[in-house]
């Protein structure tokens, strides 16, 4: 249709440090699974865990 806009969904992953609670939002990488423990936290010696995986849809 002429009036329908193209929708683009961007996938995000949010990591949270299990120790200090710092949240980091980044683009989703293939292989990311919810609750997976990942790398060392940037601000302390804790580990980050994936808390959320979601999509944001914008109309263009």
């Amino acid at each position: 249709m002429i009036f329908s806009k193209k929708k683009i969904t961007t996938e995000y992953t949010v990591e949270q440090c299990t120790k200090c609670g710092t949240l980091t939002k980044r683009k989703f990488n293939h292989g990311d699974v919810l609750f997976a423990t990942l790398l060392k936290c940037a601000s302390c010696d804790g580990h980050t865990r994936i808390e959320k995986i979601f999509g944001e849809t914008v109309e263009q």
Binding site: Y12, F28, V33, L34, F35, K52, I53, F54, G55, E56
Partner: protein
Amino acid sequence: MNFTNFDLDQLFSMGDDSNPLLMIVWILPIILFVFYGQQIQLFVTSREIKKGLKKLDNFREESRTELINYVKNNLKVKNDPVKKIDKFLEYFTIMPVDMDPNGIVDKVHHTVRSREDYTRSHVKSLSPEMNDIELNKIQTLLEIASSLQMIYKIVNHMFLTAKKQNNYPLILPLQMLLPFIMEQAEAMIEAIPAFKSDQPVGDGIGPMVVGKMMLEHEKETIAFQTSLSKIDFEDRKLFLLKAEGPASTVGRPADGLEKIMSENKIDAIIMIDAALKMEGEDSASIAQGFGAAIGGIGTERFQIEAVATTNNVPIFSIVVKQSVKEAITLMTEDIADTAEIVRLQLNEMILENTKSGQSVVIIGVGNTSGVPQ
């Protein structure tokens, strides 16, 4: 040209009603609409439906291609899978006769289970070394493709029948239903990417809440593709139940519950699920209620209600409202954010409805794609 002595009456011969030419101009459309009105409406409506039909045909083709490409690119298939997949897409299910409703649930249950088991074993035959996650994924993609195939066929059938018989009333229900059908079909086609890349969908909010509580606790498989953890919370014993993630499955929570209840004394059941929001309701709003919150064909709910009734255990529910599309496509941020709130409400609900020393079963209902435990 002189516009001032413009005579309207003269131009349209309004003062003179004996002009036969003018009478025809007036009467012809009336006759046309009286006798051919339906055909004209049929013509206008068919154009609209044809557009929808074209879209549905594209969806059907797209989902089939996606499935075939996925199988070809990601699995070690021995023979060409196209023929086999096309055969799967054509499978139909005949629901049991309901003239005598006695025992109908068991019959429906049996039919649906057999179909599931049958498709699973046949999908597996495509590539015998396929793991369970891949198997579930292909089953989900197959389900999407065959549903779209079925939708297209039914809509096309209704449309062609109405056209063939030049029957306007026959096309009316189709015209009314088409927007709903299109919404469903569009949701299904947009669901493919999330399932293909093992991402959580909106329906996975229940498993997400329960899965997080199960982390770092011992897990056992209590029923087919269904996982159980027993944890302690504020002097109460919690039985956490969810489908086994991160594969795309809804598990068999009713079977799991039955088994738990046969071995333990349970004082309450709490179910967390996604629910369809009504038009005008906010997406990702949370509601609490009474009764079993679980979708599907109804057999699981029947089984849960039956076991709760026999044991005289109340069922409470927490639902997260969302649209059809949100439920089966990649989870939105709003829905993901409710996980924490639902968790808090769940804790409150446990404390309010049980005494210390009692046991509660908590079921995270929904598709557990991309949601481990």
